[in-house]
Symmetry: C2
């Protein structure tokens, strides 16, 4: 998926949820998380106690320009410090065993985030270390848990992928793109030119003895028209089709 | 996100969409795509003309076991060969300029895929090379285009991430997980024990002169109860809270 419009690239304003990575190990994963965040219009990244320090060259490289386009990453010693100015925290983790917590799918959490943001709340998304995940102390600080429903036989999600799915759902919850089908750059032909095409095709076929089973002719015509209308041709395509008929019957092209 | 249940891991049956990567360059990206697919319960991967041949060690490593758990990857020389047994193809790409195509978001495409599958159709998802994306000839073979609505200022998505979002939407379109909030492993306390807790707390506060502004007492009590009910305590937590009150008033713990 290419298609970045650099003219629309800016140091994104601090809006949307804050992503907090606690104790991340590999710079590559921090970079992949940053890229995924910015893909989804989320630009504020905080890191708690990164194993390899900060800044990190591998993170820069893997972010494909995202870290340079985002506000500077803030680094904290503890999760408490990293979330101190935020109003509501979601912990992204498997379902906790020994705690009473609201558990939401990423999709329902996204709707909840949008509702909180519309009331002026600042939201944080907590992600744990690659191997061990979030510690219970961090989950306890969170108002809700986000669990992504995945293949129970293969549910281990890469850190960058987890950040992508949660921020993608946040973005989709505010997306104004038409959900239903849209068509490309061309307009469908008018029904008048379609009717003209049907009539010409049927006439040429009639002249060449195509409708040998006379009683079947109406059915065959109905099916032919039904097939052609499904193609949803443009004016240009109707002209092309006329050209095809002309070529097949041996008529000189204009 | 950890939590793979190996007992549920099996050589997944060939169901769901077939993912076709055309001319992929880096083995790492093929591996990340395979991992993302299997996370979402999609297990059939085909590759057209991979730059570095097949099999590929880097792909194996990056797949975190997914390639070993999936049916063997099939390799083809051309896209036509790779899709020959399929009924409907979605091309994942930016909106095409010079072609008339149905364009769908990943979410609306997922609903369309499920409808086609329920009619017995076999579905294919085409992804292009990392840098250049899908060639127009491959888009022309496709019945519809999937465009993921992303941050227009930073829309360049990694191949593994693109595969994740499309297969995730396919999975979610058939997901039966309760979308609405669920709670953890504990049951909320009965209203009787909550009422007992309110009464005890109010009594102890009354004894200690907490309600100095007498006319405000009903409002304060109402707000206190409202705050406590929001916590959604379990029976165990109610007991803990009683213990806290006892401790604060200097009463010996039982």
């Amino acid at each position: 998926m290419t298609g970045t419009d650099r003219s629309q690239l800016s140091t994104a304003p601090a809006r949307g949820p804050v992503v907090i990575l606690t104790h991340p190990q590999m710079g590559e994963n921090i970079g992949a998380a940053a890229r995924a965040m910015l893909n989804c219009g989320v630009s504020e990244l905080r890191i708690v106690n990164p194993r390899d320090g900060w800044p990190n060259e591998r993170a820069e490289a893997m972010s494909a320009g995202a870290l340079a386009a985002m506000p500077p990453v803030q680094v904290y010693a503890t999760t408490e410090d990293a979330i101190s100015d935020l109003n509501f925290i979601y912990a992204t983790t498997a379902r906790p065993r020994d705690m009473v917590k609201q558990v939401m799918t990423a999709r329902s959490a996204a709707a909840d985030m949008r509702a909180r943001e519309s009331r002026g709340e600042r939201i944080g998304l907590l992600f744990g270390a690659e191997r061990s995940g979030l510690v219970n102390e961090d989950i306890a600080l969170s108002g809700a848990v986000i669990t992504i429903p995945l293949n129970p036989g293969f549910a281990s999600l890469n850190l960058g992928q987890a950040v992508l799915l949660v921020t993608y759902e946040w973005m989709m919850a505010g997306d104004r793109t038409a959900d239903t089908l849209t068509v490309g750059d061309s307009f469908p032909a008018t029904q008048a030119s379609m009717t003209e095409l049907y009539r010409r095709l049927e006439e040429e076929l009639e002249d060449r003895g195509f409708f040998r089973a006379r009683d079947m002719k109406p059915t065959i015509i109905r099916n032919l028209r039904s097939m052609l209308v499904r193609a949803g041709m443009t004016d240009q395509e109707v002209k092309t089709f006329h050209g095809i008929i002309s070529a097949l019957i041996g008529k000189k092209m204009k």
